[in-house]
Symmetry: C2
Subunit: 335 residues, 2 copies
């Protein structure tokens, strides 16, 4: 028994500011309530995957309305302190993020425009090569492009966190080297845990940690090894990663996909970059121990049982994201 009997997991979970590095739900009042029930305060919510500038603006406008409509339950957060305050108020703090740089089109100046609109995180590529760099699925990763270097510099200036989750390894290493600020992998696991293009080799994980950044361990079945992977296996992975890259650099990024039909997963896979598949994609089955945000307390149980000390559990649950948000978001905020 490797658990730490002196740590009361339910108390730790209730006290901690729990932050999820990425969710891509079809947001509704019910989903917000699931987060609250699960004790999740902060969440990086995906506001663009394939969309361009115009459509993304409309999504952002929709978020403003959604946030007002449900202001008893949520707030749009632009700083780590907004998340800390939401914890005190018992509200969910949504950080708007992109899983692509498509909203910036070919204009690095649009980074600042979206930053001013409240967007605080952007993944450099989604699942295909783009103008900024190569994706994790690309057979020939271009590396960070000339335009990509300007986007990274502008993200640093504007205080927007660089996310490398779906990004190719060469582009990721280039981004770490180019960025003046720490970067994140919001939702991936080590390839030594599950060998999948969406997971990350040691070299990338260590580079992100060395930047002062954070790796969000991910519960999405594809990168978890399927629904049969146990909570103990997942938490043992977290513990090993803590040992390898340090307790200040490991966190969670569930990749929750609540409330969508199968059409949406086909859209995520194929966008408009290829014809729809003959057999359209369907959502994978999630593990029994993590059906959605309501199950977050079980993850805390698992982390305690895996023998992590209380401070490390708190760091993994949220403090590491908060520190990184403090370091990055404050950087270039307009006065």
């Amino acid at each position: 028994m490797s658990g730490n009997p002196r740590v009361d997991a339910s108390r730790v979970h209730a006290d901690a500011v729990v932050v999820d590095g990425l969710q891509i739900n079809n947001w509704s009042r019910e989903v917000l309530e699931e987060l609250r029930t699960g004790g999740v305060t902060g969440v990086n919510a995906t506001a663009a995957v394939w969309e361009g500038t115009d459509q993304t603006l409309r999504t952002v406008a929709e978020w403003y309305q959604f946030a007002r409509r449900h202001e008893d339950l949520m707030v749009l957060a632009e700083t780590a302190d907004d998340i800390r305050k939401a914890k005190e108020e018992g509200r969910v703090a949504v950080v708007l993020g992109f899983q692509n740089t498509s909203p910036f089109a070919d204009d690095y100046r649009l980074v600042e425009v979206f930053a001013r609109l409240g967007v605080r995180v952007a993944q450099l590529t989604y699942n295909i090569q783009n103008a900024v760099g190569g994706s994790c699925y690309e057979p020939h990763d271009s590396g960070l492009t000339r335009f990509g270097r300007n986007v990274v510099a502008e993200m640093n200036r504007a205080g927007m966190l660089i996310d490398l989750s779906h990004v190719g390894n060469r582009t990721s290493l280039d981004a770490v080297e180019t960025s003046q600020l720490p970067v994140a992998i919001t939702h991936s696991n080590p390839t030594w845990f599950v060998d999948n293009p969406r997971n990350k080799p040691d070299e990338v994980l260590r580079a992100v940690a060395a930047s002062g950044g954070v790796v969000g361990c991910c519960l999405y079945p594809l990168v978890l090894g399927g629904a049969s992977t146990g909570l103990e296996e997942f938490c043992a992975m977290v513990r090993r990663l803590v040992d390898e890259i340090g307790p200040d650099h490991v966190a969670l990024g569930s990749d929750c996909t609540r409330n969508w039909g199968d059409d949406y997963v086909e859209w995520l896979r194929s966008g408009h970059w290829r014809p729809r598949e003959d057999t359209p994609a369907t959502w994978p089955q999630w593990p029994q121990w993590f059906r959605g945000p309501e199950d977050f307390p079980q993850v805390t149980d698992g982390l305690v049982s895996a023998g992590l000390d209380e401070q490390t559990v708190r760091s993994v649950l949220g403090e590491n994201w908060l520190r990184l948000f403090d370091d990055v978001f404050a950087s270039g905020r307009p006065a």
Copy 2:
């Protein structure tokens, strides 16, 4: 001699916070220096005439860069207090504004998006009928449309000033009635001064004043009666308008067009709504006494000579705009 010999025009001009209700310059460092030389602190600068959402975002992004590049000379203002502060600092305070609702496309929610980006004024129509209402040149003014009513309500909520300068009379009266906040005519004159579709009949002027709004008397040759109109005639018009609608509702909106070639005036006239004219438009000649922003002190001389008391001169030069900006901009600012 109707002038007030006790009022020292140059002292008043130096002390006053001078605000110009509209300029549509091709902005450069030189133009900023002209404003500073002319003692102009605040200016509503046009950031869109025909442009749609995407192009306007890029224009806004360009303004952010321009403002940083020339931060010794200017600041982007989002409140009246930003303008008052700029006066103390000896800088020009630029308020971003649109001369059209084209950036909002068919989505009233984009009002809030642009408000968050710093845009504080929007004219409901430019020179043609649009989705919001009829222009002053339209033979059949639709009145404020169903979509237009939502745009007006959203502009009220977001704290964006409604400008009726190029707007048709029926649409203008509808807008005054619909708006919960005072509205502006940033750059037009009374039709009793020059009978031109761009100028305004008594009914519209009085409705704007009754809303608590402001009329910016305009120096653009087309609405001034040409370059031969004298400073005394212009200032006598201002004085009569003060008598008719009250000293709290009259101001200036020069419609300065510095630094453009003739191509730009053809763009303003024809946009892409009609083929270019066979004989392309050229810029009109400005009066000797107002070649550009550097000549603002002469306007103050003229207002004093026309017999306006010192407080009214200050109100016309800027205080009325500042009061209106206080009333409107503060309304819906995001917390």
